[in-house]
Amino acid sequence: MGWYVSSQDKSNFVACLSVAALALPGLMQTALAGRVEETYNADFQYGHYSESSSRIDVNTYEGALSAPIGKSMTASVSLVRDIVTGASPKHNELDSQGSIKQIVSGASKKALSSECGRSICDSRDGITPSVTYFFDNGSINLNGGFSRENDYTSRYVGTTISKEFNKKLTTANFGVSLAFDEINPTDRPALKGSKTSQQYLLGVSQVINKDTLLLSNVTFAHNTGYMSDPYKLVFFYDNGMFVDFRPDTRPREKFQFAWLTQYVRHFGDLNDAALHIDYRFSTDSWGVNAHTAELSWHQPVGDGWQIAPRVRYYSQDQADFYQEVGTDLQAKYYSSDYRLAGFGAVSAGLHVSKEIAGLTPLTHLKFQVGGEYYNHSASYQLGGNNAGDFADFSYYLITGSFNLRF
């Protein structure tokens, strides 16, 4: 695995493992259609992310393969490469009028001497293998992941156990995952650190009637270690006068709890359309409570075509130690990271797919394209927020993929 070096001021945008979605627990196919035929599956996806004000641009390439092993096992592997360029917010400042300004890393002169001419030039390579063993009434999945970029290495292992009962109308899921991350910030060896995360999932999915499905999950996560952002600073002011700046400093421990409910409903009279409603409540020991609601409508329009518009709303309140600019030099923890501020976000997207079945009885081909526009604004926060618009931004996403089953 090779990757490009190097960045001057880099945010950890890419450090997440995205492919985990392939191992999502849910209602197993066996509940619907007996044992599942052993098929080979190949997927490829291209994705593009672009942030307003030319901040971050990401191109992502992802390939996944899954194959049967014997009668009751499936193995899969997924590879991902993200290429990231751009700049990210570094700290907030007070200008001479006393109003807050967000300072973006790209302003630094060093940026111009970097490889891609931007302040961040990085790429991430990740691999995620997974094995699932199917029983008559359940399955066990083991998965792992390794992801590496210039300044960040992540490894994780996880397992999900699914058990069907009640005539396969109810599926219970239990999942555990452990992650070990190492951060080695570019040009800041003093801020080197590591982080351990564990997450537990308990969930139930239930067939309500022949048209309705309900899922409810709770997850608990416990993270310990270095969770500050080594590329962010907090500028401290006393009565509008600059006094000091310090690196972003967050607690070394975080508990997070989330509760997700997914409702899926079929409309036979509307050409087999499907309505999806997701709601998630999340709360953590840093004091951030968040609500996420998403609604999508999947409309088949004939000949294997499907159109799915969706809207999403997100709102969070600020972390206990968040400060727009630093005011208390005695505080133990402080961060001006916009992601820990109170804000809301509205997004809307469209997804179009075309399925081609019956090339041969078992071959199946599917093309999908999607787009989404996301708008982050302090004023969208539930219950309002008077922080001003200095951190507001937007981004759009485009994806294109194909899936081949044979």
Binding site: Q29, L32, A33, G34, R35, V36, E37, E38, K71, N166, K167, A357, G358, P361, L362
Partner: protein
Amino acid sequence: MKTKKMPLLALAMLASTTFNADATEVGQPAPQFTLPTLQQGQSMALKDKVGKVIYLDFWASWCAPCRTSFPLLNKLHEKLKAQGFEVVGVNLDEDKAKAEKFLQEIPVNFTVLHDGKGEWADQYVVESMPTSFIIDKQGVVQHIHHGFTASDIDELEQKVTQLLAK
């Protein structure tokens, strides 16, 4: 005292939501039905097939393993029909058009009947999709097969051949 019984009560309520129909079992005579063919031309009665070994397959267009099974069952049907073997498909789609589309994609030469209300599927008790019943020359169920994967066909052919030899 009262509260201690609650988990038991809950369990009993859950247990009562199970199937209560009597499943057709191996060794029992196959329930006799008459059903229209999918193309609505005529109807077929199981009793007309006495003396033949029948592979009675309950299926639906949305069932993924059925896509695997149909070409293989068609082959088996062609191979052994001269010896007194027949595959009979019973489609369970409420919407017949979906079944017809499936058969356009995967054409077969054996008889396909339509049981849109699932009356006979419930009579036989179809516990997964597909479920098939191998019925001997005397009209007795000799084997029940749940689901379908490609490698199952060899075992099924063996069962059928044994019954044909009897």
